[in-house]
């Protein structure tokens, strides 16, 4: 039996027992999904596909079954705010090591979501197409990719010139520490990194704190290397 679902004011008919996501696909209104893999996995654990019902409830579209006359809205301020929180939560437990991630170079779903919902934390490496030995840091250059915010679609490293940090720094401490280890293991020195960083970041209110945490991270990484 087909049931009637109203998606953003548009009427679609889907078989009973299907989820809201099926109705959304039929209506052509895409919502972001991360954990959804068809019939293989439907635990609704990532909560990226939250939609708003007419009674004001936020439900995950990939698991909520349709019923006759169900009204769904996919792009309300509440939905956007909820999704933003979801991206923040996911990123907070994400081990950000973009320079060694196999999905780097334009395949990162998290980067797309973080850019769409204005969440900071992912470095430029996530969109950089230079892998392995082509990586400028691996070559020993003070490229700021690992500690600069992503979202510029990476024109500098893909043209062979190192990132100069014009989009501003990543301030998450764990990312800074991991990036520092990456720098140290490739022989990039703190003074070179700070020299490039001072070009666009010196005037930032949090530059001193950032510099202090980078210095601390370098000390830690170098100390760890000597043991």
């Amino acid at each position: 039996m087909m049931v009637r679902v109203i998606v953003n004011g548009k009427e679609v008919h889907v078989p009973e027992g299907e989820t809201i996501l099926t109705a959304l696909k039929k209506a052509g209104d895409a919502v972001p999904t991360l954990c959804f893999f068809g019939h293989m996995y439907r635990e609704a654990s990532c909560r990226m596909c939250l939609v708003e019902l007419s009674n004001g409830k936020l439900v995950p579209a990939c698991a909520y079954p349709v019923s006759d006359g169900l009204e769904v809205r996919t792009d309300t301020p509440r939905v956007r705010e909820a999704r933003r929180t979801v991206v923040e939560f996911i990123l907070s437990i994400h081990r950000i090591r973009c320079w060694s991630c196999p999905r780097k170079g334009g395949n990162c779903e998290l980067l797309k979501l973080a850019t769409a919902y204005w969440v900071e934390g992912i470095p430029v490496c996530s969109s950089c197409p230079l892998y392995g030995r082509d990586c400028l840091v691996v070559k020993g250059e003070p490229c700021l990719g690992p500690i600069t915010l992503a979202g510029c679609s990476d024109p500098c490293p893909s043209n062979g010139s190192p990132c100069i940090g014009c989009r501003g720094p990543v301030t998450r401490k764990d990312v800074l520490e991991a990036a520092t280890q990456f720098y140290v293991s490739n022989g990039v020195e703190l003074k070179d990194v700070l020299e490039v960083a001072s070009m666009f970041w010196e005037g930032l209110p949090n530059y001193d704190a950032l510099k202090a945490s980078l210095e601390e991270a370098f000390k830690k990484a170098l100390g760890g290397g000597e043991d």
Binding site: P155, C156, N159, G160, S161, I164, C166, E195, V196, M199
Partner: protein
Amino acid sequence: MRLARVEEVDRVFGHLELEVLRDDGEVKAFFKVTHGARFIELTVNGRPYWEVPYVASRICGACSIAHYVASIRAVERALGLDAGEWVEDFRDAVNMVQIAQNHLVHLAFLALPDYVGVQGLSDLKSRAGRLVVNSMKLNTACLKVIRLIAGRIVNPNTLGVGGLLRRPFKGPLLKAADYLRECEALAKEVVDEALTLLKVPELKDPANNCVAVKPRKIYLTTGDEILTSAGLSFKPSNYREHLEEMQPEYSNSKAVALSGAPVHVGARARYELLRNYLRDLNVPKIDLSNPFSNLIIKAVEIPYCVTAAREILEGLAMRTADTGVDPPREGGEGEGVGVVEAPRGLLIHHYVVSGKRIVNANIITPTEINARHIEASAKALTESLVSDGRPLNAGELQRKLTMLVRAYDPCLPCAVHVSVVRGRKHA
């Protein structure tokens, strides 16, 4: 007595105020740049020389390539580097595409509404819809070409000190040439339509002094000599002997004079001085001593730039580059001046390099050079519209004055890259 005051000149890049006063029977015009000061020259100081273009190009988002090329040339002159002919040609081609795009935006979106008699772009669309749509198409195509060959629309990243950071492959060069070939007919159409609408007011230039860069090859290529309308020619490194910089108290930007007299740069100056380097620029019959004729020369430069850039790119694709890709990092001692014809006229970058660092920097932008000339023209325009010490029509005077300022196409973010702080001049 105040004759006219335009508190905020709209449809220009940045913030600007224009005031015309009458003092002891004499008309005085003030070109007040109210855009906040930016300390680009101070930022460059102390930085490694290969980072100069990164910072210098941030002076202006509209003509970043001109600043990029000028700063690179200055540093190369200081260190005695030679980028080779291939790279110089490549820079010229990118600069030309940028000039075409800049002229187009200024002409179709900023200046033309005045001559059609509408308030802005949205009104212009109802009167000259085809022109607006074609201009937008052409603008997009030019930006696409810049992204393809220079890496990015603003602040390109394939050009570098001493050569290229990434050599463009033959494929993208030919593809860019193809895009430009498709644009040629469009550019002609846009400009023909714009020229039928441009009926410029009469005005006699009170001080017809101008300077422009003598091109290396054809019109609008870079060079290492500056020509003046007095028949002089001097090396860029001697620019301080001829061009005097001063800081007016009322403005955030500096102003420049040529041997004490106001001087203008831009499309009109180029055409006046460099006509011999042209092959086929179809300029309608105009009075070159009219400051408003700048707009007409700008319009006819658009198709010229598109064609010339296309020819240069096609030529480059057939030749192999004669420099390495890695910029040299040895450093040295020296002082160098780089000049380039930016969309708005002569642009001068001057750096002193010691070791690997810049120790002194001075930048002169076209708008600074034009500042005093705009004042002189505004004075002449006001005098022609005033009788018995009162404007004949205050609204008309104000409208004509803003039209005059827009005909020069001032770029205020460029002009305010330095200022006086606590009575001390940072340059």
